[in-house]
């Protein structure tokens, strides 16, 4: 996992490309990408956890579930729009070892599961959100709990890439 022999050829080519070199040598690109990545995570995870809590019933006297969803979902999307390009930038700087990094691999699988879960939730329950609090579907609640678990684990794993 750590030795250069396990780095995929495409990842080595990426990190040695003009992009990889440019990112590593620029004074501002890498720190900027780092900062945008963190802000994006704050927006994404913050809005998702807030919506999940609302769907579990917290704050139901303050805001209807459908309104919470309409307000928070675009914030999550903005978070993703910040996270993806900044994450690709961070990855490109150090693509060889990162591509072989188990922690990053698990994180990306969790991200895929989280997105799939969110899309399925929309498809299944979006139209029922106006009456969500009267009849909460069991599967929907399971999806909400899975969402909280997944999206809390993702930044933990992301941070641990530097330490494991």
């Amino acid at each position: 996992m750590e030795s250069a022999a396990h780095w995929p050829i495409w990842a080595v080519a990426l990190q040695e490309s003009v992009f990889g070199l440019g990112i590593r040598h620029s004074t501002w690109i890498y720190p900027t990408a780092n900062i945008l990545h963190v802000i994006g995570i704050a927006l994404l995870v913050g809005s998702i956890i807030a919506l999940d809590l609302r769907l579990l019933g917290f704050g139901r006297k303050n805001i209807p579930a459908a309104a919470a969803s309409r307000f928070l979902t675009p914030i999550a999307v903005v978070g993703i729009l910040l996270i993806v390009p900044s994450g690709l930038t961070l990855f490109t700087a150090d693509a060889g070892p990162l591509a072989a990094n188990r922690v990053l691999q698990v994180k990306l699988v969790l991200v895929a599961l989280g997105l799939l879960n969110a899309i399925l939730f929309r498809l299944l329950w979006e139209r029922r959100l106006p009456r969500w609090d009267r009849e909460r579907p069991g599967l929907g609640i399971v999806q909400v709990l899975a969402s909280m678990a997944i999206w809390l684990c993702v930044p933990v794993l992301g941070r641990l890439i530097a330490y494991l």
Binding site: E16, I23, S26, P31, P97
Partner: protein, 115 residues
């Protein structure tokens, strides 16, 4: 075949630099390694700088702070160029026996803290 060769060459070039990226936790703070001599290899790059120095009969990968912090502390690219005489004090890696994380650099009588 040429592709394999060039990939191998690329690997050899970058192996030292990027292989060092496994965070800042795995260094043995109970042992201090002091290396002094001419810089053999030098990378003034993100995510962190790195130089190669010889000492205790082997070549060490010396992990430094990110270039932005090096700059802020007064270490410019030219200070750690190949051939420049640098003293590095730091902690050895618990994972790789030829890697250390510098806590302090001394260059031409000037002392720079990495943390």
């Amino acid at each position: 075949m040429r592709k394999i060769l060039s990939v191998t060459a690329a690997l050899a070039l970058v192996a030292g630099g990027a292989a060092a990226h496994h965070g800042w936790g795995s260094y043995d703070a109970s042992k201090v390694v002091t290396l002094e001599g001419p810089v053999i290899e030098s990378r003034y790059e993100f995510p962190h700088g790195e130089i190669v120095l010889e000492g205790e009969g082997k070549k060490w990968q010396v992990v430094l702070a990110p270039p932005s912090r090096l700059q802020a502390r007064g270490v410019v690219r030219e200070d750690i160029e190949v051939g420049k005489r640098v003293k590095a004090e730091g902690y050895p890696s618990t994972v790789r026996d030829n890697e250390m994380r510098a806590e302090r650099l001394t260059i031409a009588g000037r002392v720079f803290e990495m943390r």
